[in-house]
Symmetry: C2
Subunit: 348 residues, 2 copies
């Protein structure tokens, strides 16, 4: 793990991104923004899953108007996602957006960006320059590798904002291709002081998309790159938030709820480890505290991993040794595994 | 992405691991090895999912005997997983195992390792020195960080094997903790010339375990480290193989079947992208050829990503533009999206 890259923090609503603040988990609504009730409900659900920042597409003026009403109903800071039309950015600012996301691929006209930056500065609202491989500006050099084109598009917009004395900037450079994404972020990380929003764009449906995102986001984080993450999945946005926390938990960068260590099972296991782990996982889903629980199938790694966990069981034939904070505290019978384990989790 | 670390290739059955051969996807049976029918069936199922190497636990002599019969029934090379008792390693070799895995945490006695190495050498069978954080040898220095203890345990066994003129070696150093695992592999990668088997041990149930594995394995691969991977999940081993290929595909290290690019959907989408992508994913599950398919919800990245794909659709209200090898070739109506897309996939 590389040490985290030093970046200049920004504030979006009450949330700090960059510096040494925790890496922020964000998502995006998938409702019609003009449908205030559905959008508000989805934002509140995301908040229940510990989403810390939410982006909302503003594709037209009616959506910008809706934003004003949505802002009154929710407490999560909202970033307005703007494409094509700079007037929608101005309308979103007027509606109370806490942040803006602009795509240099379709809002690149210096005059338009200047108008947006002035209005954002007046309201202390940061702007994310968010470039996507799928929508690069046509003014770039098509002979350059994609990662270089992405970096060039970002830098061009940053120089413009800086020339306007605007520095509340956040940057993203996403591609579907993971090596391209990693290359682009590694390059930009050394060139600018601003916090980075990282993710793999259009990663796909939950199974493959989660893996692609975990590989890309995980690699960047382990390189010390990334101040906020969004997992883009073709699924309900709560899945994006859950996956985001799992990525951060796996690198010990955030805590949220329990961590379950469970062995893959093999011929050595004398109990049904797969069924048992699934049952424990379901029971743990209702637990909020960060606690490490181990369910292990045999004596090879069982006692070692169970000892490292807060609460663990190392199973043998029809029974298991129960461990608490590293100490074996008793033997439990197979029919009591889940009940006793959950009792101990609650007490912990 | 770092260039791949140079390693000295070994052969396990007909499969080459290391050097510049493709990164091998492996798994482990979860049946009782003594149950020859179940174990054989599971190995054949893994082979259907393109598993290239399978490990089988040999916890007793009856399992070693079963291995002889299993070897006759299957064509995948088999690695015998041995703990505690060196005689099981000798029995597994006699039964025709193509590879051995020894755990220095419980087979570390130099006399015993010597006997195993001599028998393995006679049969040209490689040995994996597979250390786990959960079962470190008690002879190590408990004051060292875990990653250093893991590396020390591996090096001790390697020196012993090398002193016996045995060099068909493969190494793994797995922990549940991803940063510990990355640190251990980065350290060993610079110290030895042997191929590395990488993975995160006891990663957990499918959802969280897949993410943890993708972060750890993905980060190592992007550092150029890893010659064969095993995703350890508390689930049917086919899930391990599927996830293994997804990790490799996301880094363009292997191909297997289609890749689906699909946007996460947002307020801009005028069709049900989540339902559509799920339907396309189900239809693609039956397709074996490596093909990139894009399902995109709007005009922001839609045309760009659809153009980059072999076959893609960029949706608008009730219709979509169909792209083939980057060229728009027509407009299709919403009710025909999946049918036409799959027709084009078949023709491709």
């Amino acid at each position: 793990m590389n040490p985290r890259r030093v970046s200049k923090p920004i504030q979006i609503g009450g949330v700090t991104i960059g510096g040494d603040s925790p890496i922020v988990v964000q998502s995006m609504t998938k409702t019609d923004t003009r449908d205030i009730m559905s959008t508000t409900t989805q934002i509140k659900e995301l908040e229940e899953y510990s989403c810390e920042l939410v982006r909302v597409a503003v594709p037209d003026h009616e959506a910008a108007q809706a934003l004003k009403r949505i802002k009154k109903e929710v407490s999560l800071p909202i970033v307005a996602d703007i494409h094509f039309d700079y007037r929608l950015a101005l309308a979103a600012l007027a509606a109370g957006a806490d942040g803006l996301r602009l795509n240099p691929g379709n809002i690149g006209d210096p005059g338009e960006v200047t108008l947006i930056a002035k209005a954002a500065k007046e309201r202390d609202v940061p702007i994310r320059i968010g470039v996507n491989a799928g929508s690069l500006p046509e003014t770039g050099d098509p002979m350059l590798p994609i990662a270089k084109q992405m970096v060039a598009a970002v830098l061009k917009n940053i120089r413009l904002l800086e020339s306007l004395d605007f520095d509340r900037i956040k940057v993203s450079l996403k591609a579907f291709d993971v090596p391209t994404t990693i290359e682009a972020y590694q390059d930009i990380a050394e060139r600018i002081p601003y916090p980075l929003h990282i993710g793999i764009t259009e990663a796909g449906t939950p199974h493959a998309g989660v893996i692609r995102s975990a590989v890309g986001i995980g690699t960047l984080l382990s390189l010390g790159i990334g101040d906020t993450i969004r997992v883009s999945l073709t699924a309900h946005p709560r899945e994006e938030v859950i996956a985001g926390y799992e990525i951060l938990k796996s690198l010990n960068l955030r805590q949220r709820g329990p961590v379950l260590v469970s062995c893959p099972s093999c011929s050595r296991a004398e109990v049904d480890i797969i069924g048992l782990a699934e049952e424990v996982e379901r029971a743990l889903a209702k637990v909020a505290k960060p606690i490490r629980v181990a369910v292990m199938g045999c004596v090879v790694n069982g006692p070692g991993e169970a000892r490292d966990a807060d609460i663990g069981i190392a199973c043998g034939k029809g029974k298991a040794v129960l461990f608490k904070r590293g100490e074996p505290v008793g033997v439990i019978a197979e029919q009591d595994f889940v009940r006793v384990l959950m009792q101990e989790v609650e007490r912990f």
